[in-house]
């Protein structure tokens, strides 16, 4: 397995976004994951969402921890800087990067092991800070890269490939994020591009921490009878609650999915997402109701998917810290340096 830069062949007939870029411009290095790995579908959805949002690659920053999932930051938008950090610690690197430059967009890719075990502390503190980033968990219920151990998201009764049964209750990142006050919480399935792409688009426009937990089957270690993250199981056991339809601020056109009421939500940056209620009783702005509904569906062994909660009025990290509009890494040194005269004044108190 080796890193190969794909030649960027310009296809004149490839559709261009408002920035004049084609989907190919949002691709990255060739994936080295197993054929059929759910993570690759998520990568494809990210490419699609970036293209559709007409993201300027220069302004995107990709971050990840360690795992098969975390490797995928190399597989999309090669024109963006990326940082593949250490296991479970991506949120702190993202926090620092975001602190340095609030003007860029940050997308973090993690796994269920990376987020829910070794990285649980950093994950919840990033939520608590309402760090302005998209945080995607590529959730397969196992440690893929270390060959199939259960992760903390494995459901009770799941069997490992070698037959071992998990009897510990899972940690659900979605419920966790909701109780911690996360401002954007969604769940989807790697195989459902139609749902996933607009969710990622919406998350990228959200001002604050946007979590998308994506059920993503590991074909090698968790796609057999007895696993609850298999393609088969996932497709059968999820119910779509809310469909997020993304409306870019410039072009106010959307493809409408499904039937029922719609709730438009205006994002901080002025763009809108439309929440299509599949279930008319579902209100994604009501955190408590969202939790109740998710739990109720989980008891029936169903993953409620879609945009499960959003609140657009929570101050994000930089607002909480009263930093200036100008990114901290761009403030000229002359502004930062108090100078020798001020030093003399300060030190007068120590004489």
């Amino acid at each position: 397995m080796s890193f190969m830069a794909k030649p960027k062949v310009a296809h004149p007939d490839l559709p261009k976004n408002s920035r004049g870029l084609t989907r190919r411009d949002y691709e990255g290095a060739n994936s080295t994951l197993c054929a059929g790995c759910g993570h690759d579908s998520i990568t494809a959805a990210i490419v699609e969402a970036c293209w559709a949002n007409a993201v300027e690659p220069r302004t995107l920053v990709k971050l990840s921890g360690i795992g098969c999932s975390s490797k995928t930051t190399a597989y999309f938008v090669s024109g963006s800087h990326g940082f593949n950090s250490v296991h479970g610690r991506m949120p702190s690197v993202a926090t620092g990067a975001n602190a340095a430059n609030r003007k860029l967009s940050y997308i973090g890719i993690s796994g269920d092991g990376d987020t829910l075990s070794i990285g649980l502390g950093q994950f919840i503190h990033a939520i608590r800070r309402n760090l302005n980033m998209v945080y995607i968990i590529e959730n397969n219920g196992v440690y893929g890269l270390t060959k199939g151990q259960f992760s903390a998201s494995a459901d009770i009764g799941t069997t490992a490939k070698k037959g071992e049964v998990n009897n510990q209750a899972p940690i659900d990142p979605v419920q966790l994020a909701l109780t911690l006050g996360a401002s954007f919480v969604a769940r989807s399935f790697s195989g459902d591009k139609a749902q996933l792409v607009p969710l990622i688009q919406a998350a990228m426009h959200h001002d604050g921490f946007a979590l998308i937990d994506v059920l993503s089957p590991c074909v090698t270690f968790n796609d057999h009878e007895g696993s609850t993250r298999s393609y088969e199981y996932s497709r059968e056991h999820y119910e779509e609650a809310v469909h997020a339809d993304f409306v870019a601020p410039a072009a106010n056109i959307t493809v409408q999915y499904g039937e029922g009421e719609s709730v438009p939500v205006t994002m901080h940056d002025g763009s809108r997402i439309i929440l299509r209620k599949v279930d008319s009783g579902y209100d994604p702005t009501d955190r408590g109701a969202a939790l109740a509904r998710i739990r109720e569906r989980l008891r029936a062994q169903e993953y409620l998917t879609g945009l499960l909660h959003i609140s657009t009025n929570q101050p994000e990290f930089h607002q909480l810290n009263a930093t200036p509009d100008m990114p901290l890494n761009q403030i000229p040194y002359a502004t930062l340096n108090p100078g020798s005269a001020v030093l003399a004044k300060i030190l007068a108190r120590y004489r």
């Binding site: 220069r58 963006s80 250490v86 990067a97 800070r129 890494n329 100078g339 020798s340």
Partner: protein, 613 residues
Amino acid sequence: MPYAAPDRVNDFVIKIGTVNGTGSASANGLLMKAVFRSGVPVVGKNYFPSNIQGLPTWYEIRVTRDGHRARSGQVDIMVALNAETYARDLQEVTSGGYFLYDSTWPRPALLQMRDDVTVLGAPLARLCNENFNGARTRILMKNICYAGVLAALHDIDPEVIRALLTETYAKKPQLVDSNMKAIQLGYDYAKQHFDCPLPLRVEKMDATRGQIIIDGNTAAGLGCVYAGATVAAWYPITPSTSLMDAFKGFAEKLRADPATGRKNYISIQAEDELASVGMVIGASWNGARAFTATSGPGLSLMQEFIGLAYYTETPTVIFDVQRVGPSTGMPTRTQQCDIRSAAYASHGDTRQVCLYPANPEECFHFAPLAFDLAERLQTPVLVLSDIDIGMNDWMCPEFKWDDSYVPDRGKVLDEAELARIDKFWRYYDHDDDGIPQRTIPGVSSKGAYFARGSGHNQYGAYTEDSREYQVVVDRLRKKWLTAARMVPKALIESGSSAELAVVTVGSGDAPAREAIARLRAQGVKIDYMRVRGFPFGEEVEQFLEAHQLNFIVEQNRDAQLRSLLTLETGVAKSRMRSILHYNGLPLAASYVIDGVMAAVQDHARPAAQLVRP
């Protein structure tokens, strides 16, 4: 070796023993400052427990006309305000010294244990109870009252004290009066009942002009403001917290827009040290000057991330204010016990650039230097201070700032430079100094690269190819050699001896220098070197080779500096003999002198015997 000048004017040590949390700090600071304002050099050492209230605590003020900066190792007058520690406090007084206690209560029999110490009783509590109202005020004033007693005993000018109080309480003038009243109570009592002044007295000098009194953590925090740091991430730990407090305090005043409240910096209290260093790495990678401050336990937690920064070549500034280990150790006591773990922080072939300041002045100046080196070398830089430097009050020359300073951001390619080149290769050595070029996210897609802690080749791509891997780590080694030319050179005083030398690091400087001065006064010919950076420059090895016997003076059990010198230079171990001090108290000059003299007088003694508990 007890050291007592026949003439004790401006040359003695006051030690005050109290109970933690009773507010004696301001009285001690006042006394020390009063001596300093009388133009007489002082040294302040605080021995405090890891506790908020109730455990014994001591403060030591050394009045030193010769301008020494270390502990002398003796106590000439003990102010004992904590009955629980009377016995050990009395024990500590140097023969011929004094012991002052609160005689509100009857004199305990144990104070008769020493007939070579003069015991003085002043009814501090009674005086204050008679003159002040309220329990809290009485306790606070009792502290100020002993300062008054000492002013009379040591001939400290009460007007200097009044001037200091007036400055301190500029906004609350009524406090000046009540404090002065307490001073006067003690002062008058002493004048009436004791033979004032004692031979241990203060006489005005002019030896503190241009000097300030400051601790190293305040100096380092201020240095980070001047360095242009904008991102500070930290997790509270003694003794590094006050460094961050200083940075935040200065930045709040100097970097916040009073109109909008917007701040040109961010201080993030992280969830732990793993996160704080991760944040520093993220922010530095993204082009900000970022730093963290911690102590031993935090440094242990940071190890994995430090390796990531080393291998991804990300500038990372870490202040490590060392405290007694292992493990939680003695959190408020000093040691130099992270020398080894800092130098080789993280797994794999890693070696880290370290700076070793010796005093607050160097803490201030090493701050911008640490950022410059981290960015120039694209690597972690660890600044190793300790409790003695960081939390004690030091007299040092007022810091000067060079307004022509421009931060060295190193080989960062901007948009125009990127436009000019054909292709950007993150880990390629263009200049043969081992330092590659870097780019900042957001500047240009042409500069985009993928930083990773997994194997990568010189172009920045993932690799598991043996040769490609080696090209990068070999270049890192070359960069290390470049670093050796960039860190501050060792300070060397040579030429007096080809036989003997004292070699030390950090806070070993002050006691070692005093020891050398006194040894030379006794006719011992001896040279001196203090290392200030790691990797060691070639001058370090040359100096060691030029002396038959180098005494390596350091404050840890395992001779960590000597280990580093052994590993990183070709010098024979037999040329380096340890003088080790690791009981948690700041090193005193007398300890160094004893160590050197023992060896000089008895060449046959093996080095191990110079190692003391």
